[in-house]
Amino acid sequence: MPSTSRRAVFTGLGVFSPVGSGAEAFWQALRAGACGVHTVRSFDASALACHVAGEVADFDAKKVVPKEHKKRLNQMGRAVQLGLCAAYRAWEDAKGPQKGQIDPFRYGVEFACMMVATELEDLARASKVSLNGTPGSVNMAVWGRDGLRDIPPQWMLKYLPNMPACHTSILVDAQGPNNSITSGDVAGLLALGEAYRAMNRDLADAFLVGGCESKINPLSFTRHNTFQPLTRRNDIPEQALRPFDADRDGTVLGEGAAAVSLESLDFAKGRGAAILAELVGFAAGFDRGRKGPVLAGVIRNALKEAGIQPSDVDHVNAGASGSKELDAFEARAIAEVFGDSIPVYAARPHFGSMGAASGLVELTASILALRHGELPGTLNHEKPDPACPIQVHTGAPRSVTKPYVVKLSYTDMGQCAAVVVRKWDE
């Protein structure tokens, strides 16, 4: 790596999750072993084979964003609102940078977000008039002529994946690089890594990096039930997502968002920002066939960039989806690099798989662990699985004893990424 690489630090956190919103509430919930996975409450999903999920209760974007931006909220789908609110909270937490403190072209926004599902209400009238009586067919002539008139003009814009980054840039007047990564469960770490590289290369002084996702709506939740291996533990939802446990039976979907304020070290110091932790390594790859060696190589590359050995790492914060195949894949890679004794932590059983939001929500848990000097126990890991030869940290919180954590994310196809974060003690 270039030796002139600039350092980057975390200066603010924003999180909306099924176990609490705001870094402090989120941390207390993790520590207390709270679980936000329930029978779906926002609509009647009982007809679906899996009908449990992690939902963000009482989310009201109007209570978060400043007054002059509220009128734009009705142009945003739920995931977009969650993302914007997380970014705004991260900016508040970092106390800026305020206008005048930063060249707007040196302030970037990077989001992880997927195409947001259409709200069916927006299409209800148009759909109703366009059914032509034959089951399973749509009268296109009626849709084109009459249906379109019944759909809100800005319908499409509520759902585009680049909208969280667009609205965030308007909110804080960030006119620098602005990208939106749509790589599913690995998107959050990729977005963070890309912002980190922009900082490394001196293209920006600060970034808001966010991830957001909400699949807990009739369309997305039905779609995912058709193809994703989801748990059948509908009767005991709080025990449903079981990372690396021999009895795991699939993942649980969750919704939420997290964002971080990432600044170059010099810039953060210059404006007197409080520093939470340092980002010191990033790597990504594609593990064809999800066997483990490429993910292991990705972890090694991230450690190498950080200039550390596996023995310097306090814990690995795993993606841990609770899927039979994918947990074994991740565990093999962790074991290959770290052996079987490093503490592995998974935050996901508390709130479910949040897709593009997962990486940053879960990373927030480890940044808070470094700050508080203790790591909560992983929920729902009870029976070790020989296919997952790692040591999952469970039970009471343990003291953080080393200054580095490694966070992993991956997708069901094999996209994978690792970041290394260092405790801030300067």
């Binding site: 195409m115 209800a124 296109m140 084109g144 980054a165 308007i170 749509t182 998107a187 064809r288």
Partner: protein
């Protein structure tokens, strides 16, 4: 420490004007239009009834056993075909002795096509009598009847780049972005940066998209962004012309192999151009309207020039974003003048390939970069067709209606701007 240089060693396309780089460029130089009536679905009563569709596409010509990808969206299928061409062009098929973990993918890609029939039938059945609300259990029951699980899985947005990595054994960093109409240009720019920084030696990058489906045309028609010149579709995409009335949807893919310069030289790869400049900004202004003075676009072009170490006068050709909407073409013209300085801007030829190919949305930037590189290599600038009535606010040299020979172009600049405010400028240079 000098920075790692990045060169283009392979290119491939699937477009409304041809399924190879050579065929497409020949048609573009002839000023042909790829626009016609929509055939993908019955659009007869839509406000817009035409688009630039890819015709006669056969994935089986490009990959063994195309049935494996039968459930994939068109975006994935186009990307596979264009990638195969690019890799073949770069002599990189069949292992080729490169470190697969140093070979990544960065795709600017649209979504797969949402299952229109399922969504509408489910929603229509579940709508309450007043049509204001829906009954979720009814929706779920109806949707489960029609949804095709493997197809739903292939709608997930990470799958396109995943298939490219699987099919061509690319184990380096694997990214997908979707920043609307800027996506593939942004993917290419970020891929350049990954090679420069050392995260990879090779990147398969570009974009792929089709929005010529009922939801896509519905969405853009509702925004009144599309041309409605239904009587004369081939005349509809008329960038910078006073009578322009919106953009024309296109579809397709453009893929490039980017490679670290010494790596490319070392293996004797063909070198088409060097990617020397990348500029990236956000408007922070509005969701769809560009900033009226093109504030972010000006800075994207300036950043790209600075990145390439060039003066405005060094740029021999600009491939404009040039969508044929009133707002874009006026703001982009102003931005080109502001970033290059009016004197240089008036002397620099600018054309819009969208006049012929339509707007390939997420794939547009990649295809247009490929056209820019070919213009430089073949000493011919593609035209802006349908340019008939000058607009006083658009007063640059748009290479109207006929291609123009121009030798000695050493640097070309390509703009891509997205709904949502992303502004991307790429500069390619002769090696």
């Amino acid at each position: 420490m000098s920075r790692r240089r990045v060169v283009i060693t392979g290119m491939g396309v699937v477009t409304p004007l041809g399924h190879s780089v050579g065929e497409m460029f020949a048609n573009v130089v002839e000023g042909k239009s790829g626009v016609d009536r929509i055939t993908h679905f019955d659009a007869a009563t839509f406000p817009t009834t035409f688009a630039a569709e890819v015709k006669g596409f056969d994935l089986g010509r490009f990959v063994k056993d195309a049935t494996r990808f039968a459930k994939c969206g068109l975006n994935t299928r186009f990307a596979l075909a264009a990638s195969k061409q690019a890799l073949e062009d770069a002599n990189l098929l069949g292992g080729a002795g490169v470190d697969r973990t140093r070979f990544g993918v960065y795709l600017g890609s649209g979504e797969g096509q949402e299952d229109f029939r399922t969504v509408i039938c489910g929603t229509g059945a579940a709508a309450t009598a007043d049509g204001l609300k829906i009954n979720p259990p009814v929706f779920i029951r109806t949707a489960l009847e029609y949804l095709d699980p493997p197809r739903e899985q292939q709608l997930e947005m990470h799958t396109s780049a995943g298939h490219l990595a699987e099919e061509f054994d690319l184990c380096g960093p694997n990214f997908t972005c979707l920043t609307a109409c800027a996506a593939s240009a942004q993917a290419i720019g970020e891929a350049v940066e990954m090679i420069r920084f050392g995260d990879a030696d090779l990147m398969l990058t570009g974009g792929s998209h089709s929005m010529i489906h009922p939801f896509g045309v519905t969405g853009f028609n509702l925004l009144t962004a599309l041309s409605q010149r239904n009587a004369t579709p081939q005349k509809a995409s008329r960038p910078f012309d006073l009578t322009r009335d919106g953009f024309v949807l296109g579809e397709g893919a453009g893929m490039l192999v980017l490679e670290e310069y010494e790596h490319a030289k070392g293996r004797g790869a063909p070198i088409y151009a060097e990617l020397t400049g990348y500029g990236t900004t956000g408007d922070a202004y509005r969701m769809t309207d560009p900033h009226p003075e093109g504030r972010g676009a000006v800075m994207a072009m300036r950043h790209a020039l600075k990145d390439a170490g060039l003066a405005p006068v060094d740029v021999g050709y600009i491939n404009a974003h040039g969508t044929s909407t009133h707002a874009n073409d006026e703001a982009e013209t102003a931005a080109i003048k502001a970033s290059l300085g009016p004197e240089v801007a008036y002397k620099t030829p600018v054309s819009s390939s969208k006049s012929m190919l339509g707007h390939l949305i997420a794939a547009g930037g990649a295809v247009e970069l490929i056209i820019s590189v070919l213009a430089m290599r073949k000493d011919v600038l593609p035209p802006t067709i349908n340019y008939e009535t000058p607009d006083p606010k658009c007063d640059l040299d748009y290479v109207p209606n006929a291609a123009r020979e121009k030798t000695g172009v050493r640097h070309v600049l390509s703009n891509s701007f997205g709904f949502g405010g992303q502004n991307i400028t790429l500069i390619a240079s002769r090696v």
